[in-house]
């Protein structure tokens, strides 16, 4: 599974990032609570380059360099093919950040650990970036 | 092979049907007497040789055919034509070349009102109309591209154009043989008189083609200066409106 970003219809509005931030770190999706009470961090970057924009989200690579480089085993792939970080195991060495060729994995705001797209695997429904994209520019590709 | 039809034997629709069904690349029709829509919508490179007087909309919406008319055309000759060539050995009625986008129209004698109205150029296509005689009022109205040449060869004493020439025109060129009374030309039009033949380079092939079609001597065509009419302001309506959300 991965999210496909279609820059033909990406508006660069950044709502994907806002909802992403509010969905993680225990904010449970409330945008106002997340941004007024805390410092939520989006898992995916928004790239704006030469009049085009797209979301720089995880490709959930088959031979994920991040998983193989992770020194703690915190980066794992579940049986749906989702590459995720076990926050308990991550020590924040950022080796994964260093080897992700897409620049997707980012340090947390306090640099204490790495954060990345987990396709909102804790939610029953589609990833929040996909469900909140106002223009259908994001799609969840199901095949593993 | 050339198919020959005698229009006397056909009514309006049967003639069109018979022509459409003919596989021949050349079709000759004799004794025409007002039959309309000949060559209308044709997208091919057939040749049509017509004798007599055709009805309205000769070659309308066509793209490609060559039409030779020995006789007069009526209204709408070459209406919305995209490509091809129509040569009229006679006169044509109103709105010849209406919204013509490509191809050429050679008329030996006069043309009626609104000749070349809304003609427009597109990519490599630039429509052309050459008239040997005079044209009526509103020549080149709304013209948006292409070339119209009026030679005024038959009535040397009169203006080759009627009033309101180039009204609402916003692109293209109109060439007139001789010097033209300025009160016939719309406000937004600039008239330049070219005395030297060298300045006629761009229209010279068209003049030569006209002379060849109708057996004119070039020295007669070139015995006067030419006046070129072009647009001063291409966006004449740009200050007309005030946007208002209401």
């Amino acid at each position: 599974m991965k999210i496909q970003s279609n820059s033909e219809y990406c508006l660069g509005c950044g709502l994907c990032r806002i909802y992403c931030a509010a969905a993680h770190d225990g904010y449970n999706g409330s945008v106002i609570r997340a941004f007024k009470k805390g410092t939520p961090q989006a898992r995916a970057g928004l790239i704006e380059h030469q009049q085009q924009s797209w979301i720089n989200t995880c490709r959930h690579c088959q031979d994920a360099p991040c998983i193989n480089a992770c020194i703690t085993g915190a980066l794992q792939k579940n049986n749906e093919g989702i590459v995720f970080i076990d926050g308990q195991r991550c020590v924040g060495c950022l080796t994964c950040v260093m080897v992700c060729p897409f620049g997707h994995i980012q340090p947390s705001l306090d640099f204490s650990r790495a954060v990345k797209c987990d396709l909102c695997r804790d939610l029953a429904e589609a990833p929040v970036c996909v469900s909140h994209c106002p223009n259908g520019a994001l799609r969840l590709i199901e095949e593993v | 092979m050339m198919a020959v039809f005698d229009a006397v034997e056909y009514n309006h629709h049967t003639l069109l049907e018979a022509m459409n069904q003919s596989p021949d690349e050349e079709i000759e029709v004799l004794n025409l007497n007002g039959q309309r829509y000949l060559g209308c919508g044709w997208k091919n490179h057939k040749s049509l040789i017509l004798h007599g007087t055709v009805g309205n909309n000769l070659g309308a919406f066509c793209e490609g055919p060559t039409i030779l008319l020995y006789g007069n055309g009526q209204e709408g000759v070459g209406n919305t034509m995209s490509a091809g060539e129509i040569i009229v050995h006679g006169r044509v009625g109103d709105i010849a070349g209406y919204s013509m986008r490509g191809g050429s129209l050679y008329i030996r004698d006069d043309a009626g009102y609104r000749l070349g109205i809304h003609m427009k150029a597109y990519q490599d296509k630039s429509p052309l109309i050459v008239v040997g005689g005079r044209s009526g009022a509103f020549l080149g109205e709304y013209m948006a591209g292409g070339t119209i040449i009026i030679l005024g060869l038959n009535d040397p004493g009169f203006s080759p154009i009627g009033p309101y020439c180039g009204t609402g025109m916003y692109a293209g060129e109109i060439w007139l043989r001789g010097e033209v009374p300025s009160n016939h030309v719309a406000d937004n039009i600039k008239a330049e008189v070219f005395q030297e033949k060298a300045r006629l380079e761009v229209i010279m092939p068209h003049l030569q083609r006209f002379a060849a079609c109708f057996g004119y001597d070039m020295s007669i065509i070139l015995d006067k200066p030419f006046t070129r009419l072009t647009v001063v302001d291409k966006r004449i309506f740009s200050r007309l409106y005030t946007g208002f959300a209401g």
Binding site: - | N20, G41, Y170, R239, T242, G246
Partner: protein, 492 residues
């Protein structure tokens, strides 16, 4: 002129308890209303706001409220605020007021004074969820005699089509959305007078192509690949005047589709200069029939004007297979305001009158009647069919389904919803995949509702609804209005 007396039309209120400073509004406003400083301070320029609601809809915290600017002029029921504003604007510029979309004035809507019937006891109503219900219909001449060439017909799965909206006036993504929805729902969309874009040729079989006075994009291929050809004489928003797509909107792609040079004005003259009479119309209709080998129905679209029934009768006699009439609520990308707001008549009356006239003259079966201009919902559709139309065109409703918020500034070409624009960065805001779903959903919803209303009347085929004025009663109408509509008052 330095001093403008025009106060802003709207004011943007930002609820600081909700605003998270994300800047979505800044990025989404194509009119430069919202601004964010380097230090995060957010501010607005009210006068740029057109009330399109793009920012308010996309704001993730609903922090924005767009309100009418509270410039309380002394109330005057004759000299309304808008009257004053119009004069201020003209005094500043000396220009003809140019505006967009349809007539907003509070003229009587006859739709709102019509009530539908339902069966009780004396005949059964029909449950459309369980019993067959036919919404399909055919448009074109139903008259034929032995030995005559077969007349071409348009088969519609439902009596609703999308109105003519040209590429240039609307974005290509609007046309893509409508074309896909039309194909999916078995109906038709209309190119308007802007040509058929190469991306849309796959939808040609669901396409009605227009031939207007400017003849943009018209060539033999254009005519022959479509399902039908429509001659546009006039449109409801601007009867009697031509079209004018300003050069700014004629992008390279628009130019290619219209077959004109890029960035040049695209002007459609008020009349077709080959049509000065009914006889001339007959000739243009026949020319197009010849050019399409008599295989396409030819529609003629006119604006609903004072003597519409006589005009329509002439159009039928001129050989039109479909007579499309556009009422005075019809919309447009740009029209002089005085024309839009003061010319034409309501579609309800026009259809009732034309249908009656055609019946009286015994020519009702020679052509189908399509109603356009201000159809807002499925009840309007049912009512106009009962007044005599075979089908309707919807334009404004379709655009609203795609996101239009009726801000009336289509003429700027800066539509924040990606609808009335040809700018790439704005056009992309309308994803045609989503647009097609929304437009098809609208048709599907109306289809269900029409079936419900028909079922209630005990009618199981839309052909039995057409001209069935017994199903209509007037409420709050004067006798002469009831007479014009050919109906009786509620209670009779």
């Amino acid at each position: 002129m330095s001093l403008s007396m025009l106060t802003p039309a709207f004011t943007v209120e930002r609820n600081q308890d909700r605003c998270i400073g994300c800047g979505v509004c800044v990025k989404q406003c194509g009119n430069s209303v919202h601004h964010k400083d380097e230090d995060g301070f957010m501010w607005v320029i009210d006068k740029n706001c057109v009330g399109c609601h793009r920012c308010a809809v996309l704001c993730p915290t609903q922090a924005l409220a767009i309100k009418e600017f509270p410039a309380a002029l002394r109330p005057n029921s004759y000299w309304s605020t808008s009257s004053l504003r119009e004069i201020y604007a003209q005094a500043e510029t000396g220009g003809v007021l140019l505006t967009g979309m349809g007539n907003p004035r509070p003229f009587r809507s006859y739709f709102d004074h019509l009530l539908l019937n339902a069966s009780q006891v004396t005949n059964p109503s029909i449950d459309p969820l369980r019993e067959p219900m036919e919404l399909g219909t055919y448009l074109g001449s139903q008259v034929s005699s032995l030995g005559e060439r077969e007349k071409p017909l348009l088969k519609l799965d439902m009596p609703i089509m999308f109105s003519a909206m040209s590429y240039g006036a609307v974005s290509l993504n609007v046309q893509k959305s409508l074309a896909r929805a039309a194909r999916e729902k078995g109906t038709f969309w209309n190119t308007g007078e802007g040509g058929l874009h190469s991306d849309l040729q796959e939808y040609a079989a669901s396409t009605i192509v227009q031939v207007a006075s400017g003849r943009f994009g018209v060539n033999p291929d254009y005519l022959n690949q479509a399902a039908a050809v429509e001659i546009k004489i006039g449109q409801g928003a601007k009867p009697g005047i031509g079209g004018h797509l300003p050069g700014e909107k004629v992008s390279a792609d628009v130019a290619r589709t219209r077959m004109i040079p890029a960035w040049s004005d695209a002007i459609s003259p008020a009349p077709h200069h080959d049509v000065y009479s009914i006889e001339d119309l007959a000739q243009l209709i026949e020319t197009l029939k010849v050019a399409t080998n008599f295989e396409k129905p030819i529609s003629v679209k006119v604006a609903a004007v004072h003597n519409i029934s006589a005009i329509a009768s002439g159009m039928v006699r001129a050989g039109a297979d479909i007579v499309a009439i556009d009422g005075f609520r019809g919309a447009t990308g740009a029209a002089p305001m005085r024309i839009r707001d003061n010319i034409g008549i309501p579609i309800e009356i026009a259809i009732a009158q034309v249908d009656q006239r055609m019946r009286d003259e015994g020519i009702r079966d020679q052509a189908s009647l399509v109603a356009a201009g201000g159809i807002r919902n499925s009840a309007d559709v049912v009512k106009i069919l009962a007044l005599g139309a075979d089908a309707v065109y919807i334009g404004t409703a379709a655009l609203i389904a795609l996101g239009c918020h009726l801000c009336h500034t289509c003429f700027t070409g800066r539509c924040n919803w990606g609808i009335a624009t040809t700018e790439a960065q704005l056009s992309k805001r309308l994803n045609p995949e989503l647009g097609a779903v929304r437009a098809a959903n609208l048709l599907q919803a109306w289809e269900h509702e029409i079936k419900e209303m028909m079922g209630g009347m005990g009618i199981n085929a839309v052909d039995s609804l057409r001209g069935n004025r017994l199903m209509l009663k007037g409420i709050g109408l004067e006798q002469h209005e009831l007479d014009l509509l050919g109906i009786t008052a509620a209670g009779y």
